[in-house]
Amino acid sequence: MRKLFEKIVQWVLTGSGFVTSIVILLIIGFLFTEGAGLFRGRVIEEGYVLALNKENPVSRLTAEQIKGVFDEDIANWKEVGGPDLPIETFRLEDVDRYFSEEELGPQYERAGEAIVGWVEEHPGAIAFVPRVMIPEEADLHYIEDRTISPAEVFAGAEWFPTATPAPLFGMLPLLAGTLWVSLFAILFALPFGLSVAIYMSEVASERMRSILKPVIELLNGIPSVVYGFFGLIVIVPLLQQGFDLPVGESGLAGSIVLAIMALPTMITVAEDAMRSCPRSLREASLALGATRWQTIYRVVIPASMSGITSGVVLGIGRAVGETMAVLMVTGNAAVIPTSILEPLRTIPATIAAELGEAPAGGSHYQALFLLGVILFFITLVINMSVEYISSKNK
């Protein structure tokens, strides 16, 4: 009886040992199923068609071209490989401007015919209308509706998830924004992080260390939303005045806040690595007549390089995945950043800002999950490289 009980407990404990692995698998599973759905989605909004005059030979348009056409950035069919004809766009919202009430009928029951007639009369027309409105016998030509291709998503330079008729899910601006902010954050954090780590492990007196250690722990404990709030109230206005910017919310504000947030991880890991550098190495160096500083940068730092690198990489990981603080201070403009002083937008901030408004199961929703998958893999790679670096040392 007793033995059976022990066996059961052992099974339960074994089961709980695998719980993190199961959670990781579940995360991958759920994020993937939702994210991959994006590539089964259609370029053109569901239930709608883009109708052309039947003389018009154009039948393929990319999502970006469709957006250009309807934003009137593209004004002639020859720009998208068609005949030399000016483009005339028609959206359903415009229906009252194009047609009189008699033409449409009191309940809009003749709207479909009216639109078809209009498209047939105008050789350069393109109309964005619900499929059900077009009468079956209408003699029109339609833009081919394709599924969204990975190239458009991963190499696309425009993120307009709510654009009609064709939303754009180009993730490059978000990827660039994330890397840009994290890069600068690490550049700011690196000198401070290493200095503090060296100071705490090699230079500081025991008393000084006992003051700094809780400071670092507290910095680590402050919630990211408080950092974001502080950044919004203090750092953003300072930058706006200091650099004379139109808006203070910028990549720079984000990187400063992220640098502060990445510091504790960096310092703790690097300091641990340096403290575990064997005493004999230091003593040998000092005995040879080297000063303490020479010992530090010629012996201690090279000997604990893998630990220091781990600390820095973990700091990058923290910066890449940080959501709330970045969301609050970077201004969230989804454009490929050209300067760190401009607003930009990161992957986590995009998910946090847009998921609440994206209708569940739609392309936008799925695109946000795909961003989650990308983020997950970025941090997975970062973690794996930390494991690799520290295992190489042993």
Binding site: S16, V196, L218, I222, P223, Y297
Partner: protein, 295 residues
């Protein structure tokens, strides 16, 4: 003292570069301490005037431009409790398994790798996952249950790691002594190992609660309510939470200017929770260390 073998100038340069380097390190370190005190000081200075009994015990009023933050405080406490119920038992059991049962080798390495990976997953990804699994797939909706589960999974790696480290430091002679007296493995763990590791495990648990109290991203889509002045009546209700409340009133709302004092007050309450958690954990660590020493 004998005269130095090196030329004086070389020696001087060596000492000067050391002086410069160390001074720089000290300045940088003091600067970091200054940054922390600037953040804390600023929020305490601006927030302390807002804190009053009414602020802590009243719901928000007038489109969140006045009133208190009581529902948010309650919500955060509920989420801390919920995540503890989710994460603590499983996390501690997992830690025990890793240190006491699993045979050293690739299996432990694999589990540890997975735990480390999970601790590196960004909190917003937990939010997405919680939304997909708990809110949508299991149909809990935006609820305290879904939020607690998500936050519990987020704090799991921390709980596992602290448990494992606490148990690792217990000398194996204690295990052997207990086993030699005829105790079974389970009895040894229950009567010897766990009581000895408890102080450090509890310290780690308190710190993980602190982390949970400040997380925003995971509850954005699983639990947090923009405005929910009455207290939740079941675990399937939404709730307000301090970090989300701070985010909302500092970035959106009807009147950002009028909301600002409330934002300072909310930030101060959040920071107070973190301070209390850190002091509690630090105090406990010292207390138990002293007790061990005097024994």
């Amino acid at each position: 003292m004998e005269s130095p073998r090196y030329p004086d100038r070389y020696d001087l340069r060596k000492r000067r570069s050391q002086w410069v380097a160390f001074a720089l390190f000290r300045v940088f370190s003091l600067f970091i301490a200054f940054v922390l005190f600037a953040i804390l000081g600023f929020i305490i200075y601006k927030g302390v005037g807002v804190i009053s009994w009414d602020f802590l015990t009243e719901p928000p009023t007038d489109g969140m431009t006045s009133g208190g933050i009581f529902p948010a405080i309650v919500g955060t406490l509920l989420l801390m409790l919920g995540s503890a119920i989710v994460a603590f038992p499983v996390g501690i059991m997992s830690g025990i398994y890793m240190n006491e049962y699993a045979s050293r080798g690739w299996l432990v390495r694999f589990i540890r790798l997975m735990t480390n990976n999970l601790s590196g997953v960004p909190s917003i990804v937990f939010g997405l996952f919680g939304m997909a699994l708990f809110v949508k797939y299991l149909g809990f909706g935006d609820s305290i249950l879904a939020g607690s589960l998500t936050l519990g999974l987020l704090s799991l790696p921390l709980v596992i790691r602290t448990t494992e480290e606490a148990l690792k430091d217990i000398p194996s002679s204690y295990r052997e002594g207990s086993l030699a007296l005829g105790a079974t493995k389970l009895q040894t763990i229950w009567k010897v190992i766990l009581p000895m590791g408890m102080p450090r495990i509890i310290t780690g648990l308190i710190l993980s609660l602190g982390r949970v109290s400040g997380e925003t991203a995971p509850i954005l889509f699983t639990c947090a309510a923009y405005f929910f002045p009455q207290l939740p009546s079941s675990i399937f209700d939404q709730c307000m939470a301090l970090p989300y409340h701070l985010y909302v009133i500092s970035t959106s709302g009807t009147d950002i200017e009028a909301q600002q004092p409330i934002a300072y007050g909310t930030a101060l309450v959040l920071i107070a929770i973190i301070l209390v958690v850190n002091l509690l954990a630090g105090g406990m660590r010292r207390y138990f260390e002293n007790r061990l020493k005097t024994k």
